[in-house]
Amino acid sequence: MNIFGLISVRNEERYLPGFLYHLAPYVNAIIALDDCSSDGTAEILRSEPKVISVLREVRSGPAHAHEVSNRHRLLMEAARLGADWVLCADADERFEERFLRRLRAEARTGDERGVPVRLLQLVNLWNSPNHYRADGLCKPRATARMFRLPTKITRREPGMHQPWFPPEMQNAPRANMRANLYHLRMIEPRDRETRFTKFRSIDPDNRDQAIGYGHLIDESGLTLKRIPLGRGYVDLPENRRAGFGRAMPSRRRSFFGWRRPAKFAKWIKPEPASGAPELLGFDFNAIFADWRQRSS
């Protein structure tokens, strides 16, 4: 089973290294589209071995001007290179670590149950890498960022804020995965203001988003919640040291504190019904299937 990560970027040298760092170990490959970047984005993409294809958009225009076209190209490229499932995100987003660990199991569940669209909760971090906005229009909301590629992929009509999946999947069964996708560019007030200004200039009449963009900077009724234990995300180690990265240590580790003594070896009691000792952390079905395929 091939799971590809898809990303469209423009001048993302600030967030892109962390994005690749957190996602690359879990996917078979990453396909990127470089939308007229003028900073070090192209070099960062080149240096990541998991990035197997970098598409380029050379038409000038404001950010998001070619969003639909870019996403369509990414989906077509993923289909051409043999992706079964795709995971779509922006450079300033981070998937919850626990979700990434069970990524293949989620895809397998989707196949077995015939539910090809998998929903995550888009969580806007606010003022802190460990807290998110829980009120108003910025509260967590479902977003379809993981889906099985259909056999037919057509292009959506132009416009921002449309789903990643192609229109063929509009009525496909969906399931909520109880997994978070953390949005990092909402942490800093100046980033929120920049986003607000950008979207207002691109979409002054709110054609692409009827609710407008005021909520990006509106803090009335602000309610912040801490990311629950064990629901954190991974970022670059240097960011983590600065208190920016993995929002919280995993639940299991937290029982012992961050620097628990090594002598407390962790052991998760096997399920008594399984009959055999339980192993965790890898997709063993996929490892066996891959090795079987290589040796056949």
Binding site: Y21, A24, P25, R101, P237, R241, S250, R252, R253, P261, A262, K263, A265, K266, W267, I268, P270, S274, A276, P277, E278, L279, L280, G281, F282, F284, N285, I287, F288, D290, W291, R292, R294, S295
Partner: protein, 470 residues
């Protein structure tokens, strides 16, 4: 462990990746299970003549950590090390390294409690994700020295993977693929953090498994006598200062501690491990040793396993146990099925003398015998291995006796075993209806009449033709 130690010249990190139950034989049989290892081998130094110091994991780790194969000799069974050489990881810890021993396993029993004096506390888990998280946490402090051991390919532990496998072979290959996946992940983490170039990576196999080719052994698959298919294991060294390629020099587990110290820039500390030679130097070992039990451990007749020691050179392995001597040509007989000493007898002076077969052998064998007799190469090899192994075992015996209290039972190997050939299986080796070789000796210079077959006929024809032409 303070920052003070680390403030000097930048030292390289050390990652030791233990390939459980992986010998060259397994690597050759399941190459598709090791894509990451093969990728690493392409850019590393691969030691093709590396032989593990023991057929069991615990003894191999002890030999690695203490730089000698005698640390357990005076202990009762495989017990707490009784030698006095400091463990490599203790040395590194004292030098300011962040050390960790991470183990993935499927059983909840404490891992390696008996080697607790040699190792950092073994952190074990059944969650590979957590193991990787531990690894990431430890490498935040540099320099680090981390030992990673995935126990799953062990023939007993891989039972946990049985639900994923379709057959025994699939289980073995899949378990190896899990190990390889783990290797790929940790190398990937090092590379992403920019630490790979400043990290010495040692990947080595501890032993192989013997699936009944030397008898049932009551189901025991490793830990039996040190036949070369069990102890001929991979060794891969990846370091910016070590040129990539194949190295055919003899190497042993006891060489790894001084090699590691050499590579990470602590070569001065290597002097405490005199039993081994740094593989970075130009020294070449002419013989390496292996064993299955400690010197003080008794035979296990209920398993049909004897305490056994081996001396191995580039072509042959000489083994000695309470049954006597066995000699195998591991280049031509990698499975160690043919004890070459069945064809010989030991003279009083310790030399080998070839016995004459009672029945004329097949012409194929004439070439073999001819080469054995032509310049005594085999006999010289035997003499070299015999002398080295006898000295080695004698030193072990002396060491154990010196450390044991009076009255304690000893189960040392009697050196008289070096004066006899293990004749077990000799009758079946020559065939049930075949008579044993005559107990008469043939001269070192074979008569022409003893040759036969196509070569002889050609010679004979040529001689007749030459006579006719004169």
């Amino acid at each position: 462990m303070t920052r003070f130690f680390r403030s000097g010249a930048r030292r390289k990190n050390l990652l030791v990746f233990h390939l459980e139950s992986v010998a060259w034989q397994r690597l050759a049989a399941f190459p598709e299970a090791f894509p990451n290892l093969h990728r690493l081998m392409a850019t590393s130094r691969v030691y093709r003549s590396y032989f593990s110091s023991a057929t069991s994991t615990q003894m191999t780790i002890s030999a690695f950590m203490h730089g000698n194969d005698g640390e357990l000799d005076a202990a009762s069974g495989i017990s707490q090390p009784a030698g006095d050489t400091k463990s490599l990881f203790v040395t590194l810890q004292e030098a300011g390294y962040e050390t960790a021993f991470l183990c993935a396993t499927a059983t909840a029993k404490p891992m390696l409690p008996l080697l607790s004096a040699s190792l950092p506390a073994v952190w074990s888990t059944n969650d590979f994700g957590d193991l990787i998280a531990q690894f990431e946490w430890h490498i935040e402090e540099t320099p680090f020295a981390i030992y990673i051991w995935n126990l799953l390919p062990h023939i007993e532990t891989d039972f946990a993977l049985a639900p994923f496998a379709e057959s025994l072979e699939d289980l073995i290959g899949g378990a190896c693929a899990v190990t390889d996946t783990l290797l790929g992940r940790v190398l990937d983490i090092l590379r992403r953090r920019g630490l790979l170039e400043e990290t010495t990576v040692i990947v080595y196999g501890d032993h192989g498994d013997d699936h009944g080719t030397h008898g049932f052994k009551n189901g025991l698959l490793h830990g039996l006598e040190p036949f070369t298919p069990l102890v001929h294991t991979p060794l891969v060294v990846s370091d910016v200062d070590v040129p990539a390629g194949t190295d055919n020099r003899l190497a042993s587990t006891v060489d790894l501690a001084p090699t590691c110290l050499d590579l990470i820039g602590l070569s001065g500390a290597g002097s405490q491990y005199p039993a081994g030679k740094s593989l970075i130097g130009t020294q070449v070992s002419s013989v390496v040793f292996s064993q299955n039990f400690t010197a003080n451990q008794p035979d296990a007749p209920h398993l049909d396993v004897r305490k056994c020691f081996a001396a191995i050179d580039r072509t042959h392995a000489l083994m000695v146990s309470s049954r006597g001597l066995e000699l195998y040509g591991h280049k031509l007989d990698p499975g160690n099925h043919s004890n070459l000493l069945h064809h010989f007898e030991l003279a009083d002076d310790g030399t080998l003398r070839l016995l004459a077969p009672r029945r004329r052998p097949h012409p194929h064998f004439n070439t073999v015998r001819h080469m054995w007799l032509r310049n005594d190469a085999l006999q010289n090899t035997f003499a070299h291995l015999h002398g080295a192994l006898k000295d080695h075992v004698a030193a072990k015996n002396a060491s154990v006796k010196a450390r044991k209290n009076d009255g304690e039972a000893l189960a040392l190997l009697d050196l008289q075993m070096f004066d006899r050939i293990n004749a077990c299986g000799r009758a079946s080796f020559f065939g049930r209806d075949e008579t044993r070789p005559e107990e008469s000796l043939i001269s070192a210079d074979p008569h022409r009449s003893e040759t036969d077959g196509a070569v002889h006929r050609i010679w004979k024809t040529a001689a007749v033709a030459a006579a006719d032409s004169q």
